[in-house]
Point group: C2
Chain length 313, copies 2
Amino acid sequence: MASLTVPATVPSPAEDCEQLRKAFEGWGTNEALIISILAHRNASQRRLIRDTYARIYGQMLLKSLNDEISGDFERAVILWTLDPAERDAMLANEALRNWKPANRTLIEIACARTSTQLFAVRQAYHALFKRSLEEDVAAHTTATFRKLLVPLVSSYRYEGPEVNMKLAKSEAKILHDKISHKAYDHEDLIRILTTRSKPQLIATLNQFNNEFGSAFNKNLKSDPKDEFLASLRAAVRCFCCPERYFAKVARVAIEGLGTDENALTRVITTRAEVDLQLIKEAYMKRTSVPLDRAVAGDTSGDYERMLIALLGA
Amino acid sequence: MASLTVPATVPSPAEDCEQLRKAFEGWGTNEALIISILAHRNASQRRLIRDTYARIYGQMLLKSLNDEISGDFERAVILWTLDPAERDAMLANEALRNWKPANRTLIEIACARTSTQLFAVRQAYHALFKRSLEEDVAAHTTATFRKLLVPLVSSYRYEGPEVNMKLAKSEAKILHDKISHKAYDHEDLIRILTTRSKPQLIATLNQFNNEFGSAFNKNLKSDPKDEFLASLRAAVRCFCCPERYFAKVARVAIEGLGTDENALTRVITTRAEVDLQLIKEAYMKRTSVPLDRAVAGDTSGDYERMLIALLGA
C-alpha cells in the first residue's frame, strides 16, 4: 500500500512543466509549487514530465532542480523524481563510493525489490555508470561482506509461490548447524540466503523457528556490534517483513540526537509508491506516534513539507 | 557469421506446419522433409511455426517431433527448434542434473553469450524449471567450481567498449600474483573473471601477456588433468576467441574412438545462427579438414544430414 496521493484529474505533462518553469523563474524559487506537482505524480507521470520538459526547454529537469534548490530538500526531490530503477542505481553507487559496513542500502535494494525490479536496477546501473553493479560491489566491498553482497545483488530469484517443504526442512538444519558453529559466512548459509525464492526462504525460516524453538534472526545477535550479523538480519527482515524493517530504519533515523536525513529520505522516496502506508502503520504500532508527526518534529522547511507530502498527509 | 541458410522466399508458417504434419503422417516419418524445413528457418521463423502448429493441430510441435523421431537425430532437431534462450536453459539443466566437473556447458552459456542473452536464459530457466539457474548451480556444483560458476551464470556484464588501462594493469598484476602462488580459486581472480566487461577483461589479459611474457591461459596448465584449471581456460577462451574454442570442442568430439554426439550437437545447434561459419574456418585452419567433411565421416543417417544442413552445406 503506497502513501503517494495523485489528484483525480492530473494536468497534462506540458502544463506541469509550465508550472515547474514558473516555480524556477525570477528571484527565488517557489518550492511549494514544486512540491505540489512532483510529490503528487506517480513514476510514469514523472517520467513523462521529465521527457516533456527536456523537449520544450532543451534542458534536463533534474539539472534545473539542481540549480534551483539545495540541501536535504534537493536530495529528496531529485531522488523522488528519478525512475525507481535509476534511483536505486544512484543510491547503490552512492553507497559504494564510500562503502561502510553499516550501510544497508545495498541489502535493501537486493532484498526488498522484486527480481524484475532488481534486474532493472542493474540495467540502469550500466546506463548511468558504464560498469556493472556487481562489478562495483565486488571491487568496493571487502571480505565477508563481499561474499554476501555480490550474490545478493546478482540474484534473479524465482518468483513463483511453489515451496518444497522437504528442502525447507533440510536447509533449516543446515542453517542451524552453521549458526551453532558461528560459521555465519559459511558458503551454504550464503547460498541459501542468496539464491532461494522468497517463499522458499520464508518456509525455511519458519521451519527453523518450529524445529529449533527460536527465530533465525534471534540467533544472529551474539555480538550486537558485528555489522555482518546486522546485515544478515537486515536481509532476512527485508524478505520477511519489509514494512517493519523500514519502520525501524525510519525510527533509528529520527530517534536520538540529530536526524539521519539520508536514511529518512531513502526510506520515504523508495517506499512512497510501494508500501509506505504499511510502514506508517508499523511505525505507529511500535512507537505510538504517527510517522508524519515524528518526521515533522525532526525536520523543517521545504524538506519537511516534501517528506510530509510523500507520506500522504 | 552464421552458417544457417534460409531460402530467399520462405513458405508461410501455416504451409510449413502442413508439410511437417505430412512428414509425421502414416507409416514411418519423412525425416528429409523435417530437415528441409526446420534446418532452414531462423529462430523467429521457428517460433512462428511452433505457435502456428499448436494453434492448428492443438498439439505442441516438440511433442510431435518427440513421438516421431529418436536418438541423436531427435536431440539435434529438438534442441535446434527451441528458442536460443530456452535451448540454453535446457542444456544448463541437463548439465546440472548430472553435473560433472568436465562438463563445459555452463561455462559456454555464461561466457559465450551477450549479457542480455544470458539474462534471457535465466528468465527461460524460471519458466521451465520453477527455480533460478543460479539456485540450481549453487545446489548441484561443489567447492571450487561453485565459487566460479555461481557468479559466472549470475553476471550481467557491462557491454560498452570503454576500457580502463590503469585498471587493466593493476588487475593483470593481481592475476599474475595469484597464479604465481597457485591460488587459482582466489576470490580476486574469480572476481575479475566473473564481473569485468569483456573488453576490459581482454585488455587485462593482453596486459598480462605484455607484462609477464606469456599468456594467462598458458599459466593455467600446471596440471593438465585439473578440471578447474581447464574450466578457467575455457571461460577465457569463450571470452576471447569463441570460434577457436568451439572449433576445439568439435574437434575433441570427433577425434579419437567414438564420437561425443552431445558435444557435437551442442556446438552446432547453439552456434549455427551465431558464428558457425567462423568456427568452420577455425576448424579448417587447425586440422586442414573441412568441418562438414569431418562431421560426415563421423556421423550417419538423418543425424548426419541434420548437422550438415545446419553447417550450411
